[in-house]
Amino acid sequence: MPLGSGDLAAIRLTLELASLTTVLLLILGTPLAWWLAQTRSRLRGVVGALVALPLVLPPTVIGFYLLLVLGPHGWVGQATQALGLGTVVFSFAGLVAGSVIYSLPFVVQPLQNAFSAIGPRPLEVAATLRASPLDCFFTVVLPLARPGFVTAAILGFAHTVGEFGVVLMIGGNIPGKTRVVSVQIFDHVEALEYAQAHWLAGAMVAFSFLVLLALYSSRGHKQVWG
């Protein structure tokens, strides 16, 4: 068996983290992306820039600030402590929080593009057919934006799997709790265990390639607005 039990635990943890993060991001990202696609508010630019920030910031910056903000002296940490939850640094919940922020643009932007591409007309049509805005969102917008949801889910999942810097900064490298695949690979390399590193790293390359292949192949057929 080329992969040790530690490696398998890291893989399982990574998949759990990525799945949960993706689900949360789709739930949070959908209204956010919809708002960004629809609003004429001046805040649009500010919010759009904030959402895109993780694209340009090194993960270490995000990790560093999360460490401060989620920590016992940070305002979020103070709040979680006041609620009796303790702090979430060094926990799976903390990794989920970090991953949600880190992968946010990878989910919000495809959704926003998908929503924008729908344009105002289908919404107007639905309104003249007696659909309330919420009704229209579920019966027209969501089905039409389906390719955007697929892209967002794939990118959010894959990007979370590939996350390293943030986890490194706030994870604490706890086996089964915060030691994800990318950190495990780093450990192997640091410890000069190149063989194990190769197995895991190779698996990551194969996984990422397959994900992107699925993504780029599915872009072939696009729905045409009739």
């Binding site: 460490l67 920590g71 303790g86 490298n173």
Partner: protein
């Protein structure tokens, strides 16, 4: 980190671009030795007229970079095994390896008065996280696990341990309050003969194998007078005084 580090980094880049000059020495320095080498550099440059250009990083990464042709001339590692490996593999001037500092392990908390003089706080149960450096990759991490073993606390603290990838991160977890306690390098919390913040217990040397930090003159530096001068300077009394003032043994 002091204000002139970005300038040094820029200099290092420039030097990489234009090729090393005779009176300049390119040094790879383990992160934990950042503050001491800056103090040493100042004194070294004043005394010899040579220029010291330092890059800071993890010892394992420096190893990989040196094996792949990085232009370092002197290497101050955080351990003794990596320089030994380089020696075996013929990447250094034969016989140039020496211990320039011996690290001291400290149990530290950012809270004043939290750590007692005997380190008994470790045995208690009122802390949630104990930060250590990754024992697989960082010598201080290994030393921390050895000390816990000797104290018979390994099982007891198992669920509390959080690992930083290096000793800087282990320090960061404690300094931000995310971990109440942590094993750090004394050099990180020590200046001019005393602990600078929080509370600490200096772990007795008999609880862990000595953290020897070895330096080597790399093949790239064998014809560089500045590189040789630096190696000699590190063995001299001025450097020794500086190194000790930062909490290292010799």
């Amino acid at each position: 980190m002091t204000a002139f580090t970005p300038r040094l980094a820029a200099l290092a880049l420039l030097t990489l671009a234009f090729g090393a000059q005779a009176d300049e020495v390119q040094v790879a320095v383990a992160s934990n030795f950042t503050a001491p080498i800056q103090a040493i550099a100042e004194s070294f440059e004043k005394d010899t007229g040579h220029k010291l250009v330092a890059a800071y990083g993890a010892t394992g990464q420096f190893y990989t970079q040196i094996k792949n042709g990085a232009p370092f001339e002197v290497f101050l590692a955080a351990d003794d095994t990596t320089p030994a490996k380089l020696e075996q593999e013929g990447d250094i001037m034969p016989g140039s390896r020496f211990t320039y500092a011996v690290g001291t392990l400290a149990l530290w908390s950012a809270k004043p008065g939290y750590v007692d003089a005997k380190g008994d706080v470790l045995k208690g149960n009122d802390y949630q996280h104990l930060s250590i450096a990754n024992p697989k990759a960082a010598p201080y991490g290994l030393a921390a696990t050895q000390a816990l073993d000797k104290l018979g606390l390994t099982e007891q603290v198992k669920g509390k341990i959080v690992e930083g990838q290096n000793i800087s991160q282990a320090y960061q977890f404690v300094s931000t309050g995310n971990a109440e306690l942590g094993f750090v390098a004394l050099s990180q919390i020590y200046k001019d003969g005393k602990v600078t913040s929080g509370s600490a217990w200096i772990v007795p040397a008999n609880l862990y194998a000595p953290i020897k930090q070895d330096a080597v003159l790399l093949n790239k530096g064998k014809d560089n007078a500045a590189a040789k001068a630096l190696v000699a300077y590190l063995k001299g009394p001025k450097a020794a005084a500086i190194i000790k003032s930062f909490g290292y043994e010799l």
